[in-house]
């Protein structure tokens, strides 16, 4: 990444990934997901009880563009753990259902884990503070 100094958005994304052990780039916020795939991913993460930072990619199209260029992954959401891309919605939900997600996140899997991932929250919940380092 030789162009980081000329690319503040990509640099901010890389910093956010580096600085947060678990970080989800999504459409909308955990409280108000703007897409079903993001909602399902948030629901799986929340079901593990793990804490995670979240970044809404919608406010600026360059966030998604730079994120995908950085991660070599074309779709949203994208979950990173310890600086590494874990996957998008399909992989996160698959990992939740197998118990692998809790292990990757370093939390104990819930004893009463259901066979299927929980449904995503419907939009409408009140917005809460989320961590978002990318808005300049």
């Amino acid at each position: 990444m030789s162009e980081t100094t000329e690319n503040p958005i990509r640099e901010a994304i890389a910093d956010a990934i580096h600085d947060h052990e678990v970080i989800l780039f999504m459409k909308g916020t955990p409280e108000r997901p703007a897409c079903g795939f993001s909602a399902r991913t948030v629901a799986a993460l929340e079901a593990t009880g793990a804490r995670f930072a979240a970044v809404d990619i919608l406010p600026d199209p360059r966030i998604r563009q730079e994120l995908s260029a950085l991660s070599n992954w074309p779709t949203i959401p994208q979950l990173f753990v310890k600086g590494e891309l874990v996957g998008g919605c399909d992989i996160v939900v698959e990992m939740y259902e197998s118990g692998e997600l809790a292990e990757t996140l370093g939390v104990a899997p819930p004893a009463d884990a259901p066979d299927h991932a929980p449904a995503g929250n419907e939009p409408g919940a009140p917005p809460l503070q989320i961590q978002n380092n990318l808005e300049s």
Binding site: F37, R64, S68, N72, W73, P74, T75, L85, V86, G87, G88, C89, D90, I91, E94
Partner: protein
């Protein structure tokens, strides 16, 4: 810009990845949200991330363009 169809997606995956077999469904009926189940010999030894990247790479910029969403399930065979 092509108008995606399940047949088109299946054909593109199976043409691009040797020996691949793909089942593609249109999730919404709207021709832009798809789900593909793909089995291919070359997935053997690849991580899940790499397998999904391989399928996404078949479509390049069409993902996020005419194909708004492509949900994937991949496996080696």
């Amino acid at each position: 810009m092509f108008v995606p169809s399940t047949e088109e997606l299946k054909l593109r995956i199976e043409s691009a990845i040797p020996g691949a077999r793909a089942e593609v469904t249109d999730l919404t009926g709207g021709g832009d949200h798809f789900r593909a189940s793909v089995a291919a010999p070359e997935f053997s030894g690849m991580s899940r991330i790499e397998q999904h990247r391989r399928v996404y790479a078949v479509f390049g910029p069409d993902i996020g363009g005419p194909i708004h969403a492509l949900s994937l399930e991949t496996r080696a065979e």
